[in-house]
Symmetry: C2
Subunit: 156 residues, 2 copies
């Protein structure tokens, strides 16, 4: 875990960026999370360690990290309103977001990767990032809605 942060800082220096307290702090915050968080959530966590860090810096830093490939950034909520971020180590994660309770159900992405590969092979394009957003109801809400007879059968 500290490894990751050291590597990231080395990368920053290598590319001529400065290693500031804010950048180190944000790396620590991100390293402590496995889920995707939005900028405000990340800011709130960072703020506990350094009350002076600004939201603007959080945005600027996350965007820099994304450009450097240090973080994944995606839209996960059904409304695609806010972007979410996560350190980019580890496997890609995709979710189904529940329209009723907001719960996220993790999705295996082997099929998504297959789609990307097929695209490359068949169309000659290059895929830089793939994002899948599923919207619907989580298992619990699906049950409850069925039990209540309020269930309009969805697309599938």
């Amino acid at each position: 875990m500290p490894h990751l942060i050291d590597d990231a800082e080395a990368m920053l220096r290598e590319r001529g960026f400065k290693v500031t307290g804010q950048r180190t702090l944000l790396l620590q915050v991100l390293a402590g999370q496995t889920n995707y968080l939005d900028a405000e959530e990340i800011h709130a966590l960072a703020h506990m360690q350094d009350a002076s860090i600004s939201l603007a810096t959080v945005y600027r830093t996350l965007n820099l990290f994304a450009e450097l490939g240090l973080v994944d950034h995606r839209y996960v909520e059904p409304d695609h309103r806010r972007e979410v971020f996560r350190l980019s180590e580890g496997p890609e994660q995709h979710y189904l977001t529940c329209m009723r309770c907001g719960a996220r159900t993790l999705i295996h992405t082997d099929l998504l990767n297959r789609m990307a590969h097929e695209l490359v092979r068949r169309k000659g394009v290059s895929v830089v990032s793939a994002c899948a957003c599923f919207t619907g109801y989580c298992a619990k809400c699906t049950e409850e809605l069925k039990a209540a007879g309020e269930f309009t059968p969805p697309v599938e």
Copy 2:
């Protein structure tokens, strides 16, 4: 094609909504397009027929149509900034959007549908909509970048 509009208008009436000139016009505009368009593009097209139609009405109408299932609405651009709309007849379409020239490459969605079905089967969830956004370079730009030696091999 007029069929489609008549059906939509019948549906509006059935559900207690009024069939206004603006709604009919927007149905016509949408019926004349196969691609996804954003609200401003749709407004521009409608504006040519009725200079008094407002962007607010376009948004309200598109959202109503989406709730009624008359239009698909999704985020297609890499930045996910603006939502795009299309009449929901016809098969789902997904794209890879080129980061260099903006071109959209159509993607077959059988694998995406398989993903959705697997999700339902394995996790007990219900899938209402699935959205896949691929970002990268189109075939032409991939070629050109390779030729220019400017190509950093992407994720795939």
